[in-house]
């Protein structure tokens, strides 16, 4: 189950750039294509995951990690196992983004938007692979520290359990933020029956805080 970047969703990248439908200016269209190509050629996504039992006391396997908060409890309701996952676009993407910001900020914002869509693609592919591997069991959507009332400080424990430093080259800043920035950690519930509430929706979106559509009172409708 190798981590795969199979495509970069233009509509998603455009949404990050503030596009709300309507015609896409030609220069932007060209820039998007260039950035897509560059990322597809340069980025080597990496991922790590663990499948753990949910113990009666809420702890995951023998890790001593107990996800905190009502939101994650609700997310994992009815699940007896959980997948912890970490994925990153790696230092290559980080370097591209840093360099682009010096070279041409206009290109940098397009590249940043495309990289955002790229890491989502990597996560989606990993989840699809995991779902296939674990079938006929069912997977919930991804839920990350910082969503709902799950404290962001649990990121540190999650990263320790996954050993992300050694396994995929992700480190945490003193403030608990991941470097490379285009990295995701998440919990995915595993259950015998499909979850009635599907994945997606603003509360479980990792762009919840930074989403301008949401700030303006709208929703992207799960794309």
């Amino acid at each position: 189950m190798e981590p795969r970047l199979t495509g970069i969703d233009r509509r998603e990248a455009l949404a990050y750039l503030g596009w709300r439908g309507g015609p896409v200016p030609e220069e932007l269209d060209v820039a998007l294509t260039r950035c897509q190509t560059l990322l597809m050629e340069t980025v080597r996504p990496r991922a790590v995951w663990r499948l753990l039992d949910i113990r009666p006391d809420g702890a995951l396997g023998d890790t001593g990690f107990v996800p905190a908060g009502e939101s994650i409890r609700a997310h994992l309701a009815g699940c007896d196992q959980v997948i912890l996952m970490g994925a990153t676009l790696g230092a290559e993407s980080e370097r591209l983004l840093r360099r682009a910001q010096v070279e041409d900020m206009a290109r940098a914002v397009v590249l940043d938007a495309c990289a955002g869509a790229a890491i989502e693609n990597v996560c989606d592919n990993l989840c699809a692979d995991l779902a296939a591997a674990l079938a006929p069991r069912h997977l919930t959507g991804r839920f990350s520290p910082g969503y709902g009332d799950m404290p962001l400080c649990q990121q540190e424990m999650l990263c320790q359990v996954l050993d992300v430093g050694r396994r995929i080259g992700v480190s945490l800043s003193p403030g608990g933020l991941m470097i490379p920035q285009k990295s995701v950690t998440a919990l995915i519930g595993v259950a015998d029956t499909p979850r009635t509430k599907g994945p997606g929706g603003c509360p479980s979106c990792d762009r919840r805080d930074s989403c301008t559509i949401r700030k303006e009172g709208g929703s992207c409708g799960g794309r």
């Binding site: 189950m1 750039l17 503030g18 596009w19 309507g22 200016p25 220069e27 932007l28 080597r44 990496r46 790590v48 995951w49 663990r50 499948l51 023998d62 001593g64 990690f65 790696g90 230092a91 290559e92 980080e94 370097r95 983004l97 840093r98 360099r99 910001q101 010096v102 070279e103 041409d104 900020m105 206009a106 290109r107 940098a108 914002v109 397009v110 940043d112 910082g146 962001l152 424990m157 320790q160 359990v161 050993d163 430093g165 050694r166 995929i168 080259g169 480190s171 945490l172 800043s173 003193p174 403030g175 608990g176 933020l177 470097i179 920035q181 805080d209 930074s210 989403c211 301008t212 700030k215």
Partner: protein, 782 residues
């Protein structure tokens, strides 16, 4: 390390302790104090299995990882070394084991090289005091971090230093470091042994070891994982015997120190001892490859031509001098990127300018350039302090430019080259100036070579510059330079450097003479020309020469270089109807520049700014607000306008008049936050509106922002935060600014902020986007 014998190392520690009951998330090192007997039991088990050198349980005993344990590094290290020594007895060596800090270094992360150095200094001095036999840095993936570690050891303690990095199967570390770069850098720093550990099994690491041995003569270490883990459970499934059989093949590569990493146990070490019985590490040939490198890119010194870009140098360049005086790293970074894109393989860095603190500036520029390019660097200075500052900051193996035949220069600079493992350029001149004859120059080259060898440098690392003189002034000297070059390369077999641009000074159509001289010099044996890669004729000459010399196999590089060049496209004529406003709106930099030049014929500088550039930007801003265009186009327009501002600025500088800055603004991404693209966008837009931006970067503590606001006497401070968790830090910064009594307005922005929240934390303005920040700047500063 004794030749001819293996040194059997130990296996994993962390997983052994977890098996003994250590909870995940607790520092394994804390058990040195809380459960010393359990740690000692692991050491004893390895020694019983055959280990002759144990790594103490000190891998993560640094001040960052121990922060919440309640223990200090010195305490944990003293306990760890002490208990290991007691457990293993007198015949087994004890290494201070040191892993990565766990924080990423600049430029990708936020930890400074100096702080990393200090973290390691604290550890290694504690280790030496506690009686460790050697220091073993392992599981490193950042070559810069490893350099900080090795320097901390070399400069503060007397113990042997071993260094091991962790690679992916692609032959790179997570941060992109390559095997040759590791070998060149670590050999240069003088480590006592080097190798690989962790991340992969023996089978995957053997091919990398095959490569490593060709780039270094250091003793080799190999500590693989027990194969690859099952992703679901994290468990390793390779048997001890299979592991040992594979690892034993490393003996044939001349590897001397062998052990295991994640997933290995005393059983694996026992099996390894069995598998190695009767074997000896194979004799190794002397290394065959030389070169210079950044962490991720190596330029071999192989006789092929590799161009050194000369453009990072203030000599005779007003705009570059201004960038140095203003600390404008962005401008210098762009010169670096430009040269890399044009085909330079090494970048010369010269920051010598009267009134500039050269060592401090050298360090800053080296770090800035490394943040945006991955080319090896050449530190160009005559000041030993500046050379050392540059060499320290370099990630990789650099060239020092330069020494000459004078004894005091050789004595001052060569020890620095030795200490930091740099190659060195030797100019064939001395107190008597530049000799007139080739023979005399060769004589000086010999002197430089002898001195370099005496200081411990390798012959391959002495690069001789036979010096170019201006042909319009001393015509016969061109032939002498070429003659000396032929001798130094042909007879002495040394690599040669030569700055060629100077040849044509004072002549019309300079490029023709420069390129012809470059070609003749390459024929004479020049392999490291210093020139301006942005001149396509220069790069054309190199490309053609490499075809004719046979270095460019099947002319592949040549064909690729010209693949996209249309046969003879007619030059596109200027669009006569285009206005400056149109050019800006379309983000056309060259047209904006040309139209600004034209406007200067009839308008004053200030008129152009107020009547053309700013109104054009305003129109673009309005379209952005109406969502007719998007952020990338807003920035493109701002960038194009910047070309116009640059021309106006240059004109004003030339006249020696004041500046056209519309005022100064301090910008920062607040402490704890590393997401700075938003702040960088605002900076570009504000600069292009004519404001002077003092950009303090990311993760900036409140006191630095206050200090900068007061020192620069700014009336507007812009703060950015992306995460909910860092908005608190923004509030603290505003509080500190108010408490300082400095009279300034504060604007805030960032994804999670709202106008209400901005008010609540005491900001004067909330900026929804970059455009609005420019509106605010106009309101505050005019």
């Amino acid at each position: 390390m004794a030749a001819g014998e293996f040194i059997i190392l130990d296996g994993a520690m962390g997983t052994m302790l977890q098996a003994a009951g250590l909870p995940v998330g607790q520092c394994p090192e804390s058990w040195n104090i809380e459960q010393p007997e359990k740690v000692a039991a692991v050491h004893r088990a390895y020694v019983q299995a055959g280990t002759r050198l144990v790594c103490a349980n000190t891998f993560g005993a640094n001040r960052y990882k121990l922060a919440r344990s309640g223990y200090a590094p010195g305490q944990v290290i003293a306990a760890g070394i002490g208990l290991a020594r007691q457990a293993v007895g007198p015949d087994v060596r004890v290494a201070l084991d040191v892993g990565p800090i766990g924080q990423l270094l600049e430029p990708l992360g936020t930890l400074s090289f100096e702080e990393a150095y200090d973290v390691y200094r604290e550890m290694v001095t504690a280790g030496e005091t506690a009686g460790a036999d050697l220091v073993f840095f392992e599981t490193m993936s950042d070559l810069a971090e490893l350099k900080a570690a090795v320097l901390a050891a070399k400069e503060n303690i007397a113990l042997p230093v071993w260094a091991s990095m962790t690679f992916e199967a692609t032959g790179r570390t997570f941060l992109g470091a390559t095997v040759p770069a590791m070998a060149l850098t670590l050999s240069g720093l003088g480590v006592d042994a080097m190798g690989f550990n962790c991340s992969l099994g023996p089978r995957e690491l053997l091919p990398l070891m095959e490569e490593l041995r060709r780039w270094t003569d250091s003793p080799l270490i190999l500590k693989p994982n027990a194969g690859l883990p099952d992703p679901a459970t994290g468990a390793y499934t390779v048997t001890p015997e299979a592991f040992a059989d594979e690892l034993a093949q490393a003996a044939a590569l001349g590897v001397t120190a062998l052990g295991g990493c994640c997933g290995t146990t005393p059983e694996f070490i026992r099996a390894l001892v069995t598998a190695l019985a009767g074997k000896h590490p194979a004799e190794r040939e002397k290394k065959s490859l030389f070169g210079v490198c950044s962490a991720v890119r190596t330029v071999p010194l192989d006789g092929d031509v590799h161009l050194i870009g000369e453009r990072i140098n203030p000599t005779g360049k007003k705009r570059f001098q201004q960038a140095l005086r203003e600390g404008d790293m962005g401008y210098i970074q762009q010169r670096a990127i430009e040269q890399q894109d044009a085909g330079a393989e090494i970048l010369d860095i010269n920051v010598g300018l009267p009134g500039i603190d050269e060592p401090e500036m050298m360090e800053r520029v080296v770090k800035a350039v490394q943040a945006v390019t991955d080319l090896p660097l050449q530190i160009d200075s005559s000041d030993p302090a500046a050379i050392e500052a540059g060499l320290r900051a370099v990630n990789g193996r650099a060239i020092v430019n330069s020494v000459n035949g004078e004894a005091d220069v050789l004595d001052a600079v060569l020890p620095l080259c030795k200490k930091y493992g740099a190659a060195v350029v030797g100019l064939t001149m001395d107190k008597g100036g530049i000799p007139r004859t080739a023979e005399e120059r060769v004589e000086i080259a010999r002197r430089i070579l002898d001195a370099a060898l005496a200081h411990g440098l390798a012959r391959e690392d002495v690069l001789i510059d036979c010096l170019t003189l201006t042909v319009s002034a001393q015509q016969e000297q061109a032939a002498e330079t070429l003659k000396a070059l032929r001798y130094v390369r042909g007879q002495m077999g040394l690599h040669t450097v030569l700055g060629v641009s100077n040849i044509s000074f004072g002549l019309p159509q300079r490029e023709k003479v420069t390129v012809s001289f470059l070609t003749q010099a390459m024929v004479a044996g020049l392999d490291l020309p210093i020139a301006d890669p942005n001149r396509s004729a220069v790069m054309d000459a190199v490309a053609a020469f490499r075809v004719l010399s046979g270095a460019d196999r099947d002319s592949a590089a040549y064909i690729e270089r010209y693949a996209d060049v249309p046969a003879a496209a007619p030059p596109a004529g200027p669009d006569r109807t285009m206005t400056l406003g149109d050019a800006i709106a379309k983000g056309l930099k060259e047209e904006t520049a040309a139209l600004t030049e034209k406007a200067l014929e009839t308008m004053t500088e200030l008129e152009i700014v107020d009547q053309l550039l700013i109104p054009a930007l305003d129109r673009v801003g309005e379209r952005y607000e109406r969502q007719e265009i998007f952020l990338p186009q807003l920035i493109s327009a701002a960038n194009a306008a910047c070309e116009g501002f640059e021309i106006v600025k240059r004109r004003i500088t030339e006249k020696g008049a004041g500046s056209i800055s519309r005022g100064k603004i301090v910008l920062a991404t607040v402490q704890g936050d590393i997401h700075d693209i938003g702040k960088n966008i605002v900076r570009v837009v504000l600069e292009n509106y004519g404001y002077t931006v003092i950009d303090l970067g990311r993760d900036v503590p409140p006191e630095r922002i206050v200090e900068a606001a007061i020192r620069e006497d700014v009336r507007l401070v812009g703060l950015s935060a992306l995460m909910t968790t860092t908005v608190g830090s923004m509030a603290r910064t505003i509080e500190a600014l108010r408490a300082s009594g400095h009279d300034c307005k504060v604007m805030v922005g960032g994804a999670v902020l709202t106008p209400e929240y901005a008010r609540q934390i005491g900001a004067d303005y909330y900026a929804r986007d970059a455009k609005q920040s420019a509106d605010i700047a106009r309101e505050v500063l005019g």
